[in-house]
Structures are given as structure tokens and as C-alpha cells.
Symmetry: C2
Subunit: 501 residues, 2 copies
């Protein structure tokens, strides 16, 4: 037997009463080291402090603000956005089918609910679905993609429903990871990035390959920078995948068609598996910008590309105009995946049985909303348009107000739900932060939280060029509140800058 | 740069038209090897074939049966079990809060819905919750555990809501895995086991340590067998955790209080982290059997144990009397976990943002059902009792009929939702299976499926003593259908035995 000593475990110490207390089995020194490497700033220490502050406020403690405003996360309903009535009616009908006899529900909601329930075992959302997702939902997703992509065909067998997009991204990365040392899988991600990617790569022990978006050119992607990052990475790992977020998170840029073509050519030339995170596909605000799916561009580039380039693209119920994060709905489409690998993917997702069925139902409604002529159509369009126009207006407002502040510069928020302005932090503040062992932008955001109640995420949580500082702020609060919030950010920045100058 | 050759990748071949087709980035040879090692029999090839048969039947193909009966998985609603009315009313109210004005809904359902919505950001289930789960739900879980365990205290901070129990089990195992070679983490699991465990350990690259349940003593757990398995494993890995499923899956045994005490003493003595899978805690049918939670027994053994033994216990909305699998609700309680590790756990679960909120709401209703005096109480009790009594009756019926078959012997189904009878497979059938490269019980179950339409899982998917064969069959079909099904199994077994004798 291996003794504790041989395994290098600490020797148990005698306690005061002479009893030898058992050492913990699981300690920070004996836990999974890859888990320790995981970081996830969107829910990091700043959010923990925001929750504490909320509690202190509710207990009557005096603060320089009346409420904490969480602009750290793309959580639309929490910021007051209303759900789409039709979606919720169908979900209520599916939850409690007795309501199918209730004459106040519109007929189209009832027929959607009946169709979903007929696809569920025992006509109940309480049954497991197929692990890949409910068949009829995958068919609806395929038809949605075909409509969106101007008729490019989509096979329902290539669709996997997921527990939010995060689950799909994690699963795909899991398939890709292998090798050790210089053959270890490397994955290219944009900097700034959405920290799910870095967290997943850390957990899987894969190599993160950073390529930098060009802040000066509105966070656009340069192929030469992809090439630089790839060439450098090839010295120490085996780059196998390239992740793109479009529209961008946290950076809000919308990629041009040309850029997407270049990326596809690059992936083909360099033998990279493409992962396209397209969860903000309806969130495009800027004039002249348009969402192009990687799938569509790939197929329009002809068989040289569409028959060979491996692509996984991801969508979700959490963003766009619906913002239904809590339901954890999503799908991924898999193009040109090797058949044997696909069988392995299907096996892998079967272990977690199935994605949540209410989330699958909701995904179905997103890809198959009310049609012209149906009773709920007008109201659906009204609600969707109102939400998307308000977001477009708030995107512009955010950019405008932030750019009035000396020491803050903000690229246009072309899409998605965030601004990611660059901030100038005075030398003295950088020094004070560094002395405290904090990132300067964490120091800045923490001060802002304590003084104003506004919760943002420091740029260091997403990655940024050395010596630059940013924060991510959602554009989700209602217009009036957003305006107040932006002005508070302005005041804070001016005060902070003055204090440390 | 590393060339493809240096990395051992296959050289691309020239195609007929002279174009060099690109090799796939992701192939069975270049994918994550740990994923390839994963097996999950409950949704394996036999279920894939059952789905095909259903499709063939629906297309009018002639078969020796009129329908496929999936007795392979504990999917209660799919087998016709009705959801609890109160639970579904509250879910409908939470999905579509307009219904709070509907006078046909009972007041207690409305007040529960209001309480859940008040705990959601923006009063919407569409908001993300805290990653650990909604505060008020965790408080209700803690009070439920205290009631269940006769007042043993429970801290809501020790509760983590999960996406079904599988998610919690996977997360805990993930924390525990470290080391290489002889220091690699080993985890003890029962044989037969629920294959989530073997799948998770394969994916994590941990060492599976088998301890065998005693079929002759009604699948009971012998400490001497735990000791044997542990002592042997110490030669080649670092055993750190012990997993128990009680009531047992697939074996249906209910552990005695004495056995649980012995297991806890063993874990304490040997320095093992305990994982108690207690998702069938309401599914106890046999006279003289009772569910004892590991938490309660641990605390009643006094501070020598309750202050030191690390325990994670798991529960779910998917089983018991509710059977709401599709909602993917669940929780885990963590006892005596090192504070730093707990912080790492909280960070880890934050990456996947939050468990599905409808599943959290459902978990809340399970731990806080209608109370005496509330309008829904009588109907709730009536529905719950009806489901549990029917299950108890079907447990007995299953055991009785199976034991009338020569060559099948079935232990009492004391709890859970499955029988796991031993079957005698004639030598000639074993040979034919082996020649085909199949496990003999897979061969048996596949034949049964093709001839009768009954879908069972072969014992080899759960693990069994060499040379013994079993299948797992759920007791979930309605009584009449179950009786027909059991008689079909009987007929099949007799025919099969005759054919191969």
C-alpha cells in the first residue's frame, strides 16, 4: 500500500484533546489542478461584492447609492425586458395542458403547444427527450436555418439541442482536446473574448491561443494577426480550432462578409476546425451592418470549402430579442463532421440524458414564431420590434455618452449587448492597484461599485492588450435608467481621474 | 513549425480529379481519447435500435409486435405516469404570470408562484439565477432536509442546485480528480452501477474501483468487499472517493441503517470522500425497509464523524413520485467540505451560469409541497399516494412474475424503479454471441427487442460478476401493460432457452 507520506500528503497533527483529527480528503492542494486554473470574470469577485452590497442595503446599511445596478451580465429580463407573450403562453400550455381548454389562449399558441407535447414521451415535458434533442424541434431548427441562410440546406441530423450555448461550446471543445506537450491541442480565441472560452480551455487543459482584435478598427479581425498567433503557437502546441464570436462579445463588432470569407479560407488553409458563436445573430444595430452566418458564407464559397471545412455554430434562447437566459435553451449545428466523431458526440451527450425540455420548447418557438395570418403574429412582431429598437437606441446612447468623457473612448456598439470602452487609468491609480496585487481595471471597477452601486466587469476578465484598460457594460437597463447610469459612470470617471492625478 | 508528418497525422491522398482533398481536422484517431472510453448503456445501441424499430413500425413495416415498449430508462411520464397537478399549475403561473389573475387557479399555487417569481431577477424565470441556485429555493431545500432528517441542521450555503443529479455527480467527481499513474485518483463504485459513474470516470480519466454488491443477500453491501476492493486498488491508484447509490440503481436494494453506519466508519478510517446518490429516496416499497439519509446517520454518529467525514449527497426532480426528468432539476448538499475547495466549486459552477430555472422552481415545489390546510393539500396527497402505491404494487408484481420463470431469478425490488434479475443464458447462445463479438446478455436483449418490441438494458451495461447475466427493466409501465410485458418476457425467455438448448 502507498502510505500517506509516500504520496506527499501532510501528516495529521495532534489536536489539543489528544485526538488525531482526520485530514480532509479534498483540499486546495489535492483537488483537480485544472479546475483551479479556471477563471470566470462575468461572475467573479466583483459580482460577489455586488451581492453583498445588495444584502447590506436590504439590511438598512447606509451607502452612497440606493440600489445596485448589475450591468455585468447579459441578463435581459433581470434588467426589466419583458418576455415575448406568445412564448410564455405556449410554455404555460405545455406545463399545464389543462389550459388547452381555456378559451382565453390564442389558437396558434395552443396548436404550437399541442405539437410540442405530441413530440414528448407521454405528452409530457416531464419526460426525457432524445439526447440530441426532440426530433420535431430539430426539424424546426433546420428549417429556420434554411430560411435564414437563403435556402442553403440544413439536415436536422446535424442539429444538437444544448443546455444554453455554453454547453454546446464546452462539448465541442471536449471532443477536440488531445495530445501532450507540443502536440497538445491549441484553440485560437479572440482577445478580448467571452471568458467561457478561457475557462473551458483551462478546465480541459488545452492551450489557449490568443489573437487580438483591432480596437483601432472598431474591433475588427485581421487575418495577418490570426497568422501571427497561429505561427507562434505552432512552436509549442498543435492548433486545431479557431473560435469566432460574431456579433462580438464583449466588443460588439459585426463581421463583414469579406472578413468571414477570409476566416474560412484561413481555416481551410491551416487545417482548423471552426467554431462560430452566433448567439447575438438578431442583435445588429449599426447602419450598414448585417449578420452573415458562417454556414451561409461557407456554402456560398463553393464545394472546395463547403464540402471540407468543419464548422460548429451555436445559438441560444438567452440573447437576441427573447433574452430567456433562465431556460437554458440552445442548439449547435455541425457541418462536415467525420461520421465516427459524430457518433462519439451523440454518445457523449447521451450521458447527461437530455437538455432541459422547457428550454427545447422555447428554442422551438424562437425558430418557429407566429406566422403572418396567425392570431398572435401582430403582437409578436410588435413586441420583437420594440425590444430590438430599444436596444438599437441604447447602443447608440451608450456610445455617445461614453465618448463625451475625457479618458474614455468607446467603439460603436454595432451589435450584441455590450459596450467595451477603453479607459485611461492614471499612473497613480495603476500603482496603488499593483501594490494591492489587483489589476488596475479591477481596482477601478471595484471603486465604482463601492461608490455608485454600478457593477461592471473589468476588461482584464476578457483579455486586452497589455497596458490598455477597459470595462464591459451591458446596454440592457431601461433607457432612462441607462442614461442615469452612464452619467454616473461619467461622474465617477472624472472624480477618479482627478483623485489620482 | 511542426509538420503534419512530425505530428503523426495521416498524409492527405490525391483524389481522382487531381485535387488534394483536405484531411478532416477531427477524426476518430485525433479526437479526445477519454471521450472514446466513455460508455453509457442506458442509451446505447439497443435503444438506438428501438428507435429505428419505432420508425419502421410507423412506416407500416410488419413486425411481430405492435409497439416498442421502452423499459430501459426510468422515464415515468413517458410510461404514462401523470404529473402532480399542483406542480404543473405553479409552473404555468411562473411561465405566464398573467394567469395570476385567473380565478380557477388555487390560492396556494399562486402564492408559491409569486414567491418563486419574487426570487427571480425582474420577476422572470427568463433571468439567470445565482450560479449556486436561487437563494429562496436553497433555503427551502435546507428546511426540507432538516424535516427529513429529524432536525439535523442544514445550512442553505451547503446546497447547490444542479441540472439533474447527473450534473452534480459529474461536478463533484471533477473536483476530486488529480495525479498521474499510481497517484491518479481512484473512485469506488458499486457493481452493478448506474453507468453515469463509469462514464464520468472514463471522461475524467480517473480510475474506476469496482466493489461488488452481494446478489445472494439481496444486493447488500459487505464492508469486507469494500476493503478487498480498496486494498487491491491502492497498488495502482490513489482511492479518494466512495460512491453509494441508495436505494440502489439498477439493483433496487434499500440499505439498512447499520450498513450506512459501517460505510461511514469505513470512509472515515480509509480517508474517502463519500458521495451518496439518494435520488430514489421516496421510492421505498418493501416491508421493513426505510430510507435513511447518509447525512442523518452521519450526524447521529456524533462529532467524531459528523465534524470530519466529507459527504456530498444528491437529489433530483426526476424520480420519486414526481418523475419530472425533462426539467433537469436537482440539488446537492455538501458536508465538511474544505472552505477553499468550496470556493473553487462555486467558481466552477459559475462558468455554466446557472441550472435551468424551471427545474429550480420544480425542485422548490418538491421540497415545499402543499401543506395541511392549504387548498391543494388533499389532492396533492391523493396523487402522490396513488403513484407511490402503484409503484409498490408493480415492484411486487415484477418480482413475482419473473420468479415464476425457470432460468430467471429476481431479488425483491425493495426500492427505486428497476428490477435487475439474473438470467441463465444457455451455453450455445453464449457461444453464438461470443462468436459475433457481442456480450451474451446484449445478444439476449437484442433478440428480445426484435421479437417482442421490449427494450431492456443488458446487465453488462451496469457491470456484473463474470459469468453471470442480467437485464435491467423498469417497473414503470401501467399495471396492466406491465403484466403483459412480464408475460412476454417470460415467453421469450422460455423460447430462447429452448432454442439454444
Amino acid at each position: 500500500n502507498l502510505s500517506a507520506t509516500r504520496r506527499g500528503l501532510p501528516k495529521p497533527k495532534m489536536s489539543e484533546n489528544g485526538v488525531v483529527p482526520r485530514a480532509k480528503v479534498l483540499t486546495i492542494d489535492t483537488m483537480n489542478p485544472t479546475v483551479k486554473n479556471v477563471e470566470y470574470a462575468v461572475r467573479g469577485p466583483i459580482v460577489a461584492r455586488a451581492v453583498e452590497l445588495e444584502k447590506e442595503l436590504s439590511e438598512g446599511m447606509k451607502k452612497p447609492f440606493a440600489e445596485v445596478i448589475k450591468a455585468n451580465i447579459g441578463d435581459a429580463h433581470a434588467m426589466g425586458q419583458q418576455p415575448i407573450t406568445f412564448f410564455r403562453q405556449v410554455l404555460a400550455l405545455c406545463s399545464y395542458p389543462e389550459l388547452l381548454n381555456d378559451s382565453t389562449f390564442p389558437e396558434d399558441a395552443k396548436s404550437r403547444a399541442r405539437r410540442i407535447l405530441q413530440s414528448c414521451g407521454g405528452n409530457s415535458m416531464g419526460s426525457y427527450s432524445a439526447s440530441q434533442g426532440i426530433d420535431s424541434v430539430r426539424q424546426d431548427v433546420a428549417r429556420y436555418i434554411e430560411r435564414r441562410d437563403g435556402g442553403v440546406p440544413c439536415d436536422p441530423d446535424d442539429i444538437y439541442l444544448t443546455t444554453g450555448a455554453s454547453d454546446g461550446i464546452m462539448t465541442m471543445l471536449k471532443l477536440l482536446v488531445c495530445g501532450e506537450g507540443v502536440t497538445r491541442t491549441g484553440v485560437m480565441i479572440s482577445i478580448p473574448q467571452y471568458p467561457l472560452y478561457s475557462a473551458a480551455l483551462a478546465e480541459l487543459g488545452a492551450v489557449q491561443i490568443n489573437y487580438y482584435l483591432n480596437e483601432e478598427k472598431c474591433w475588427s479581425l485581421d487575418i495577418s494577426e490570426l497568422q501571427r498567433a497561429l505561427d507562434e503557437a505552432r512552436h509549442h502546441c498543435n492548433p486545431r480550432a479557431l473560435c469566432i464570436i460574431n456579433p462580438g462579445n464583449p466588443t460588439g463588432q459585426v463581421q463583414s462578409r469579406e472578413c468571414i470569407e477570409d476566416v474560412i479560407r484561413f481555416a481551410a488553409k491551416e487545417g482548423l476546425f471552426l467554431m462560430a458563436d452566433e448567439v447575438y445573430q438578431d442583435n445588429v444595430y449599426a447602419d450598414g451592418c448585417q449578420f452573415h452566418s458562417f454556414k451561409k458564407v461557407l456554402f456560398e464559397m463553393g464545394p472546395e470549402y463547403s464540402d471540407t471545412v468543419e464548422l460548429a455554430s451555436f445559438h441560444s434562447t438567452s440573447k437576441c430579442y427573447m433574452g430567456e437566459c433562465g431556460f437554458r435553451g440552445g442548439y449547435m449545428e455541425i457541418i462536415n463532421m467525420d461520421d465516427e466523431v459524430k457518433a462519439q458526440l451523440t454518445k457523449l451527450v447521451s450521458v447527461r440524458l437530455c437538455p432541459p425540455v422547457p428550454g427545447q420548447a422555447l428554442m422551438d418557438l424562437v425558430v418557429n414564431p407566429p406566422q403572418p395570418g396567425e392570431p398572435s403574429y401582430d403582437n409578436f412582431i410588435k413586441e420583437r420590434t420594440a425590444t430590438l429598437s430599444a436596444l438599437a437606441e441604447k447602443a447608440k446612447l451608450t456610445e455617445q455618452i461614453l465618448n463625451t468623457v475625457h479618458g474614455i473612448s468607446c467603439n460603436p456598439v454595432q451589435g450584441a449587448m455590450y459596450s467595451f470602452p477603453r479607459i485611461i487609468i492614471p499612473e497613480k491609480a495603476v500603482k496603488e492597484a499593483t501594490d494591492k496585487g489587483q489589476q488596475p481595471d479591477m481596482f477601478y471597477c471595484m471603486k465604482m461599485l463601492e461608490e455608485t452601486g454600478i457593477c461592471l466587469v473589468p476588461g482584464s476578465g476578457f483579455g486586452q492588450k497589455d497596458g490598455t484598460y477597459h470595462f464591459r457594460m451591458t446596454i440592457l437597463p431601461p433607457r432612462d435608467k441607462l442614461q442615469i447610469l452612464l452619467n454616473k459612470v461619467k461622474e465617477f470617471h472624472q472624480k477618479f481621474t482627478k483623485h489620482y492625478s
